[in-house]
């Protein structure tokens, strides 16, 4: 889901690595061996992974908000239960990913601080508002669909804990996209108002979803390191095209029109071609000026602050309990 994170060059201080260890590490990556937490790894590899895995985790956690916006208004008890369990999965995925990042020597608290201070990013798709129930369908169908495109190759990522987390996540996410499409299908087969709701949601989400794959390869500043280290396996444009080709027929099946007059099927290449993506919008939202950037961060900060006394109480109680047990043992 979070290809844009992969496109940041490692900007940390250059570390001079032991050439012999580095050569062995590169050979292991080239041979598709898995790197495990205690294995030797170059500092730039570690930093790149911490950044990518934690931003992936932050995205899952922030991503709970736009869908959470409809939990209390879900229009049927079945949809309500499905939506709660889907958002719960996202919390779980955030947790798996934080755990994977922690194996690289950073604590959950440090990762959280980086998010709250604005130092770490999350996927900017979540800075768009969810205005109608159809957005729940569109998020499942398109946002999760795009995420799955990105995440499946990550199951073969060179870093063991990240790859294992992704395998688990992909397995659990398989229902997310399907439930989203089912919402869209129900709306499309419903009343004219419901159909209009579905079309409106597609109009608002289509372009932001295409931006999720990150800037075009031509201007992408992704380092060749990520590719060589098997952290990233496909280019942004390749994944985006794969997503478009898979999604356009699904939308047409629903009877929906894509908000792109230039959209057409190229009989020669057998690919769907799209009009130009507004990369200025992408940069603007990424830089902080989306509809919901401030709101998402305010809610997250407030939640952390509101929970502080609870976590403090848990720590205090655990200490009291441990002390009492020690006393009993001594008697």
């Amino acid at each position: 889901m979070y290809a844009q994170a992969l496109d940041q060059k490692d900007k940390g201080p250059k570390v001079v690595e032991d050439p012999e260890k580095l050569a062995r590490f590169e050979a292991r990556c080239a041979a598709d061996e898995k790197i495990e937490p205690k294995d030797w790894m170059p500092e730039a590899y570690r930093r790149t992974l911490v950044r990518q895995v934690s931003q992936h985790a932050h995205s899952e956690v922030i991503g709970m908000q736009p869908e959470g916006n409809w939990v209390t208004r879900a229009p049927s008890l079945k949809r309500k239960a499905v939506l709660i369990s889907k958002i719960q999965d996202e919390a779980g995925h955030g947790l798996y990913l934080y755990s994977a990042a922690e194996t690289l020597g950073v604590s959950r608290e440090e990762l959280t601080d980086a998010l709250l201070s604005g130092k770490a990013k999350y996927s900017s798709i979540f800075n768009y508002p969810t205005l109608t129930w159809a957005d729940m369908g569109t998020i499942g169908w398109l946002v999760d669909g795009a995420a799955i495109m990105n995440q499946i190759p990550l199951c073969r990522c060179s870093y063991g804990p990240y790859a294992r987390a992704m395998i688990r996540i992909c397995k659990e996410e398989s229902f997310h996209q399907r439930q989203g499409y089912e919402i869209m299908l129900t709306l499309a087969r419903g009343t004219p108002e419901q159909m209009a709701m579905a079309q409106d949601a597609l109009n608002r989400w289509w372009w932001p979803c295409l931006m999720m794959f990150g800037p075009p390869d031509a201007i992408s500043e992704h380092s060749s390191d990520s590719m060589r280290w098997k952290i990233k396996r496909f280019s942004n444009d390749d994944l985006r095209q794969k997503f478009i080709d898979a999604t356009v027929p699904q939308g047409h099946f629903l009877g929906l029109t894509f908000p792109d007059p230039a959209l057409k099927f190229n009989e020669e290449t057998k690919h769907w071609e799209i009009g130009p993506i507004d990369w200025d919008e992408f940069k603007r939202v990424l830089a902080g000026d989306g509809v919901c950037n401030r709101q998402r961060m305010r809610v997250r900060r407030q939640t952390e602050a509101d929970g502080a006394w609870v976590r403090e109480a848990a720590r205090a109680h655990a200490k009291k309990r441990a002390a009492r047990q020690a006393l009993q043992a001594a008697e």
């Binding site: 956690v61 709970m64 908000q65 959470g68 939990v71 209390t72 208004r73 879900a74 229009p75 049927s76 008890l77 079945k78 949809r79 309500k80 239960a81 709660i84 369990s85 958002i87 719960q88 919390a91 779980g92 955030g94 947790l95 934080y98 129930w133 919402i183 129900t186 087969r189 419903g190 009343t191 108002e193 419901q194 809610v299 939640t303 509101d306 929970g307 502080a308 006394w309 609870v310 976590r311 403090e312 109480a313 848990a314 205090a316 109680h317 655990a318 009291k320």
Partner: protein, 252 residues
């Protein structure tokens, strides 16, 4: 209301109580003190909404007018809702929510255990499922009440406040009206009086570990089962039902 059978009304009350509490818990979405607790609260919400759906489904069948779970959940007003007053109380802080969960679970566990012996097979089967879930809710919320009560000065204060504020709604658990009495006499509904001792023992045990003081038994606010609610339920239902009601007859 008069034409409704006691079994229908009683089953709806069980459904409404489960749904309203499940809905309240779902309001915690993404706002819990830890990510782990977010996941735990969602599980509690899902259990309760699942119980509600089973009870609604059965109520619809008992009524026999073709109303399904959504018609019953989304198209009745607060005056027709028969949930316990406790469960509609706002989430407040984490101590309020955990205390509400604890008080309800401490009652619901023995209540559903007793309902498993109902002469009504469907209610007994739903109770058998709900009983296991409530056992976990009781464990989870009870642990939190102990942690918060016997944690820091601040958490102790907040938890004691929560207990003091919610205690007025405990009495309703045991308040039996004519509708319920008819079903108790028929061996369909359990007599709550018979589980009161167990309920009180659970509270006494947890509050003693939590260093909390049980307020003296005072006035018991009742009326929820009969559709006389606090001001909070109307807002909860307004939000929950808005989309469904805006599109009459639509399928979702």
């Amino acid at each position: 209301m008069t034409s409704e059978t006691p079994l229908f009304t009683y089953t709806l009350r069980l459904a409404d109580t489960a749904l309203v509490l499940g809905h309240r818990l779902s309001e915690w979405n993404a706002l819990a003190p830890t990510l782990e607790e977010d996941i735990a609260l969602a599980n509690l919400a899902l259990d309760l909404i699942g119980q509600a759906r089973l009870f609604y489904d059965y109520a619809g069948k008992v009524e026999g007018k073709g109303r399904d779970e959504d018609a019953l959940a989304y198209l009745r007003d607060d005056r027709e809702y028969g949930n316990l007053l406790l469960v509609e109380q706002p989430n407040g802080d984490f101590a309020q929510s955990m205390m509400r969960q604890f008080l309800f679970s401490a009652f619901a566990l023995p209540y559903y255990t007793a309902l498993m012996g109902s002469k009504d097979e469907t209610l007994a089967a739903i109770a058998a499922k709900a009983e296991k879930e409530m056992a976990y809710h009781l464990r989870h919320s009870g642990e939190w009440v102990i942690r918060l009560g016997d944690g820091t000065d601040e958490s102790h204060r907040r938890t004691q406040v929560a207990l003091d504020e919610l205690a007025i709604y405990i009495g309703e658990f045991f308040a039996v009206d004519a509708i319920e009495q008819a079903l108790i006499d028929a061996g369909i509904a359990p007599d709550p009086a018979k589980i009161r001792a167990e309920f009180e023992a659970t509270l006494a045990h947890v509050f003693s570990e939590a260093t909390l003081i049980m307020p003296k038994a005072g006035y018991a606010q009742t009326g929820g089962k009969q559709g006389q609610h606090t001001e909070h339920l109307g807002h909860l239902l307004a939000e929950m039902q808005v989309l469904h009601r805006a599109h009459p007859g639509a399928t979702w």
